[in-house]
Every structure is written in C-alpha cells, then in structure tokens.
C-alpha cells in the first residue's frame, strides 16, 4: 500500500499536518522510518516532510549552540565550532548513515541507538518543540525523553551549553565491531572542576535503559571529589544504580551492567583502551 508524502515549507505547517492525521509520521533523515516502511509497518499512512531551511541550521555563540533538529551527523562533523560533539557524531553508523541520520531523529531512536542523544543529555540540552497549533515551547532533554513516545509536535532544535573546557567533556561508545558497530553501551560525562574538585558533574548513559538516562547516583557520588582512583571509587560502586538495560543480540542485561563500571572508570580517568 503506497503512502502519501506531504512536503511543507515551514515547520509549523508540518506540525499542523502531523496533528491532523493519526497515521502521519514526520520523516527527518529517514534511517529508522524508511527501515520501518521497508519492513512493512502498516501503521504509517502519511509521511510529513519539511523543506524549512532553518530546520538544518546550526547557530553557535561563545557559550551556547543551537542545532537545528534536521542537522545530520556529517553537518556536526563539518562544523569546527562543535568539536566537542565530534566524538559522538563520528560513531553513529557508517559514513552513509552519518550523511542521512539527523540530530532530531536520534532523539527518538530506541535503545541501543541514541548515542548522540546521550552526549546531549550530559550537556544539559534543551529541546525546542513546535506545537501542532500555536507556539513553540522548550523542554529539558531529560524530561522530553521520558515523554517522547507520547509527544506530538515537532522538534525544531536542540540547544546545549559548551563544556566548561574541552577536557571537561568526554564521550565513549562501547561496541563489539570497530569502527562501526551498534552500542553495547555509551557514556557521556561533563566534569567541571574547580581547584581539582568536581562540582555539578553530569553523567549520561546510552543503551542502559529504553532511552538515554542520567546516572544520578554517579553524579552525586562525584560531587566534591577528585578525578583519581580513590576519588571515583564511590561513583564506580554506584555505576549501575537506576539502570534497566535490555538483553539483545549484542549483549545481555547482565553483561551491560557488569562492564559498565569498567568503562565508566576509563571515561572518568581519561584512559583509552
């Protein structure tokens, strides 16, 4: 059964079209949606597209960066101002996936996908949403992820603050096949420190729950501590708290929990390998 494709010049028209049709889905890069269509997902009757040029735009100033939800991983990688996000953009699929996959679509990707979103979560991102009727609204990413399955409206952009320093932001994806492989898990951490003591660290996990999540227990255990073996010991002990990973073809839930502290230690101590 053929679908109907509707193309709009503005995000507000696209949002209205989406709201008026229960079978309509918004198509961004299409890497997940076209896959579902190829697999015969009959719940999709209409595809809504937007050719709004603002949808792909990246605007940066010295403290904050606004990334249009239609920006693809290759657009992030081509932007020197976004160097702190390059490690997270570089590991999404292979080159062809990165030339298609968008930031907006990544916010909706089910576990074990969503690596880029994990990085955004550790950077305290805000999501801008165009409601079906009426205005735009903003929401913290963490809150957005909890309600994304019920979210109507369109994501137009995400906004992040730059990390306190280049070394303060770290990202690691653990996969079995290199350079391209789906995540066993991913970890992102923003680790601002004053006088060698951490304050307001933010740590996020990908593939450790149905959506990327904050590692609150780890964040609490890092408060006021230093980034050395003794300083991070309580955080490592709390690493798996609050996680509900899946068992899938890549790893069992048990395995994911078991290796999590090892990789968290490497992230926190800046170790490679």
């Amino acid at each position: 059964m053929a679908l109907t494709v509707k193309t709009f010049g503005s995000m507000s028209e696209a949002a209205a079209a989406l709201a008026s049709d229960r079978t309509a889905r918004f198509i961004s890069g299409g890497t997940l949606l076209m896959r579902a269509i190829n697999e015969g997902d009959t719940s999709i009757g209409t595809l809504v597209r937007s050719t709004d040029t603002g949808y792909r735009q990246i605007r940066s100033d010295p403290s904050r960066v606004e990334i249009g939800a239609g920006a693809r991983m290759v657009d992030i990688l081509a932007n020197r101002d976004l160097a702190f996000l390059h490690p997270a953009a570089r590991i999404v699929g292979g080159p062809a996936v990165r030339a298609m996959a968008t930031v907006g679509g990544n916010l909706f990707a089910g576990s074990p996908y969503g690596d880029f979103t994990t990085a955004l979560l550790a950077l305290d991102a805000t999501v801008s949403i165009q409601a079906a009727y009426g205005g735009a609204q903003q929401m913290p990413l963490e809150q957005f992820l909890q309600s994304r399955d019920r979210s109507s409206g369109l994501v137009t952009a995400v906004t992040v603050s730059r990390p306190a320093s280049p070394d303060a932001f770290r990202f690691r994806k653990v996969s079995r096949v290199k350079p391209k492989g789906v995540s066993v898990l991913s970890i992102a951490a923003h680790l601002p420190a004053t006088g060698g003591r951490l304050s307001n660290a933010r740590v996020a996990y990908g593939a450790m729950a149905p959506t990327p999540i904050r590692a609150r227990a780890v964040e609490r255990a890092l408060e006021g501590r230093s980034l050395d073996a003794a300083g991070i010991a309580p955080a490592l002990a709390a690493a798996a708290e609050g996680t509900t990973p899946a068992t899938d073809a890549l790893a069992s839930a048990w395995y994911r929990r078991e290796v999590l502290p090892v990789h968290l230690r490497r992230v926190l101590l800046g170790e490679t390998g």
């Binding site: 299409g30 595809l47 062809a96 391209k180």
Partner: protein
C-alpha cells in the same frame, strides 16, 4: 494512490519518473529507471550494497525517500566507467581480486569513490572507516582495502589517464 513525478540527474543524465508514495530510491533506480548496479541486500541500512552518491555524498538508497532526490544528482556504479574505459577503482578491484561473488562490489566502489573524491591520499584506517558501512562476506576486506589504496596511489601518483574522464 497517486504517483508523484520526480526529476533528478542520474550519472549526469536527466531522468523523470513517477514514484509511489514512500518508495525508496533503490526501487526507483532498479525498477523505475533500470539501473541495476545498486543491489538490494537487507533493506535496513545494514549491508551497504545499495550505496549510491547523492550530490556527492554516500547514501543508502534503500533508506532514501525517493522524493527527497528531486532536483539532485545521483551517481551509481553504472556511471563509473567511461565507455569501455574502466574507472581506476574498478581496475584496481580487478587487479587486487577485491570482488569474489561481486554482490557488495558496487556499494564498495561508491563508498570508495566518496572517500577518494574528498581525500585523494587516505590512510589505511581512513579507507577501512570509509567502507565500514559495507559488508563483504567473501573477501575478508583486505583485498578491497588494498585495491582502494592502490587506486588512490595511482590517481595521485602522476597518472593522467583520469584526465579524459568527465566524471571522476
């Protein structure tokens, strides 16, 4: 359901086709305009045999909504050779036994072309990265990487056989 007209350039020639709503580019290439060079493997983005270039960037045709290609340039392995003259990547693939069953080959060639068009002298790691979205079940990848390295070396190494080509 109404069909939608889509015009695009395929290997430098204008094409106009009617596409079904939601149809992917791979279908349009193979069934709509009869270019069978991009293959259908998984339809899920995982195998890379459908890799083509859209405005010079590698994309998976099986996941590309055909309508997004309107007004754009699509390049496939069918457009690589210039009449009887093979593209240097094709020659290198032959010389290095980089194709066994050949099912992955057109996707590999296009992924490699995307790399060499941007980076004329890639490292081995960069080559491996460039074909990391393409699965080969036959060769063990080494002959493919060798072929791409060799094509890059010959292209950058003063050979001017490329100069007569319209599209490289």
């Amino acid at each position: 359901m109404a069909k939608t007209p889509v015009q695009f350039r395929l290997n430098g020639s204008d094409k106009a086709v009617f596409v079904d709503g939601g149809e992917n580019l791979l279908n349009v290439l193979r069934r709509g305009v009869g270019d069978m060079s991009a293959k259908y493997g998984c339809g899920q983005g995982t195998c890379g045999v459908c890799t083509v270039l859209v405005d010079g960037e590698p994309q998976l045709a099986c996941l590309t909504l055909a309508e997004t290609c309107a007004g754009r340039s699509v390049d496939t392995a069918l457009g690589l050779s210039d009449g009887p003259n093979l593209h240097p990547l094709q020659t290198a693939f032959m010389e290095h036994f980089a194709a066994q069953c050949g099912f992955c080959t057109s996707g590999m060639l296009m992924a490699a072309k995307a790399l060499l068009d941007r980076n004329a002298s890639p490292t081995r790691e960069e080559v491996a990265e460039a074909i990391s979205g393409n699965i080969c079940r036959c060769t063990g990848y080494e002959p493919i990487i060798n072929a791409i390295m060799d094509a890059a070396a010959k292209r950058g190494g003063g050979s001017n056989r490329e100069q007569g080509h319209a599209r490289v």
